[in-house]
């Protein structure tokens, strides 16, 4: 299938590993050029860039705290100078508000709110004028299984991200810009210390229709599809990649 992504520019936040790295590689295989950022893990980001470059695409990397308006604007401006256009935005950077309601303190809340919700707001604001000018764009945000299973911190923030996604979908459809979420279920990933998978998330065989954890490649395939030319009439949706753990 020709996804029509060849020569497009794809911005992926937090593209150091896991979903972000898998998406970078998947987009590169479609011939898209990449604009990748991380807050602080430049070594890992360079590894991603190297892996993606094998497909012969151009990759530009940079450090950017996606919760900081000034840094986001500067990074997007740099990307526009490098590539001339940004066509796809994948808000992959994440910080989980893990734990039950009473255990989430102000610090954890603020960090998770910033990365999960403020960041997609800021990056979308920064790239949308260029997408409008080109009359084409794709924004892909990450929801998850938490809104459906019920999780006080993570579910709150992920559903809020879905709300933002719907608002963008509503307003920008007329410019051929779609905004969607991908909602991964239990996916095998490496976690930052303090963000480890808890016992509530299930290991090994899972009691779901597809009785195993998913892979990041199974998610990035959905991300690439949502960004493709073929997905031009899909907007405001949350594509669940969860092995049937929840039927939406």
């Amino acid at each position: 299938m020709d996804t029509g992504l060849k020569g497009k520019t794809v911005l992926i936040t937090g593209a150091t590993r896991n979903h972000g790295r898998a998406s970078a590689i998947a987009f590169a295989e479609e011939g898209a050029n990449l604009l990748l950022c991380t807050r602080s893990s430049m070594d890992m980001l360079e590894e991603t860039a190297q892996l993606a470059s094998k497909s012969g695409v151009r990759v530009v990397t940079g450090a950017c705290d996606v919760t900081d308006e000034t840094q986001v604007d500067a990074f997007v401006q740099m990307g526009l100078t490098e590539f001339g256009h940004i066509d796809v935005l994948v808000n992959n950077a994440a910080w989980r508000a893990r734990g039950d309601l009473l255990s989430i303190d102000e610090d954890l809340w603020q960090t998770a709110l910033g990365v999960n919700l403020h960041a997609p707001f800021l990056t979308s604001k920064a790239v949308l004028p260029n997408m409008v000018r080109n009359n084409w764009g794709r924004i892909i945000n990450y929801s998850g299984i938490a809104p459906f299973r019920g999780a006080s911190g993570q579910g709150t923030l992920k559903m809020a991200t879905e709300g933002l996604t719907r608002a963008i979908a509503q307003e920008y459809g007329r410019y051929n810009i779609t905004a969607n979420c991908i909602g991964p279920g239990s996916i095998a990933v490496a976690r930052t210390p303090g963000q480890e998978t808890g016992p509530d998330e299930g290991h090994g065989p899972l009691n779901i229709p597809v009785p195993r954890q998913g892979t990041v490649e199974e998610c990035s395939a959905a991300v690439v599809f949502l960004a493709s030319e073929q997905a031009s009439y899909i907007t405001g949706q949350n594509y669940l990649v969860n092995g049937g753990a929840y039927f939406h």
Partner: protein, 246 residues
């Protein structure tokens, strides 16, 4: 219908604006005692208190800034001291702002909306729920709306959908304590004093082509709080005249 609410204590977070006042009165009619908060003038708050007292129940009031969880926790503690227990939270935390296009919405306005409503609600629930756990009974009632589903202005959509996420999280976590959490999602019902910018006017193509009445929203809160609604949790109750079908 016996709602089992007689003698229960109901905290109404904003009992002047939005549907707060008719909701407070609806609970008073069921014999519940009220703890009323408002960021509005004490005169407006006392007017709600007067209407509640007219139903023959007890009431205390306190000024609380919108989304201020520590002020609300203190008021809730006063409620417990006065009435012995706190049973129902009507979390009517809403920062009404005129809808803006995404391109016009500044980061500061967005943050103000999210931090007041969504973050405020999160920490309000965090402060109040332990009081319900003590009695192994409780009802959390949050407010969302049509913006969450239809995707209108970004601040409202994100905040309202986030509050649904919060509601589901509380439902999952606190069901074992006989505490339910649900969302009321009004749309097209005009709250008293509400500016036209915040509402969804009736359209000829709506299943019910008329405005909703404040009482039609207030009634839902009482219904969700009733003893016999004990198995209803984590849900959105849409009261929008059929404008959006879940």
């Amino acid at each position: 219908m016996n709602t089992g609410l007689e003698g229960k204590t109901v905290l109404v977070v904003e009992s002047v604006n939005n549907f707060g006042r008719p909701t407070a009165v609806a609970f008073a009619k069921e014999g519940a005692n009220l703890v009323l908060a408002s960021a509005q003038s004490s005169e407006d708050l006392e007017e709600t208190a007067r209407q509640v007292s007219d139903q023959g129940v007890r009431v205390i009031t306190g000024a609380c800034a919108t989304g201020n969880d520590s002020q609300l926790s203190q008021l809730a503690q006063r409620g417990v001291a006065e009435f012995g227990h706190l049973d129902v939270l009507v979390n009517n935390t809403i920062l009404a702002v005129a809808p803006q296009s995404f391109s016009d919405l500044t980061f500061n306005s967005w943050k103000q909306k999210i931090e007041t409503e969504l973050q405020g609600s999160f920490f309000i629930c965090q402060g109040i729920l332990p009081l319900m756990v003590e009695n192994n009974w409780g009802r959390v009632i949050n407010y969302s709306g049509l913006a969450a589903f239809q995707g209108s202005d970004a601040g409202s959509s994100a905040s309202e959908f986030g509050i649904i996420g919060l509601t589901r999280g509380i439902a999952r976590e606190y069901g074992k304590h006989n505490i339910t959490a649900n969302c009321i999602c009004p749309g097209g019902a005009q709250a008293p004093g509400e500016s036209a910018a915040q509402v969804y006017p009736p359209s000829e193509s709506d299943p019910m082509p008329r405005w909703g009445k404040p009482e039609e929203i207030a009634y839902l809160a009482v219904t969700i709080a009733a003893e016999d609604a004990g198995y209803l949790t984590g849900q959105c109750l849409m009261a929008n005249g059929g404008k959006y079908l879940l």
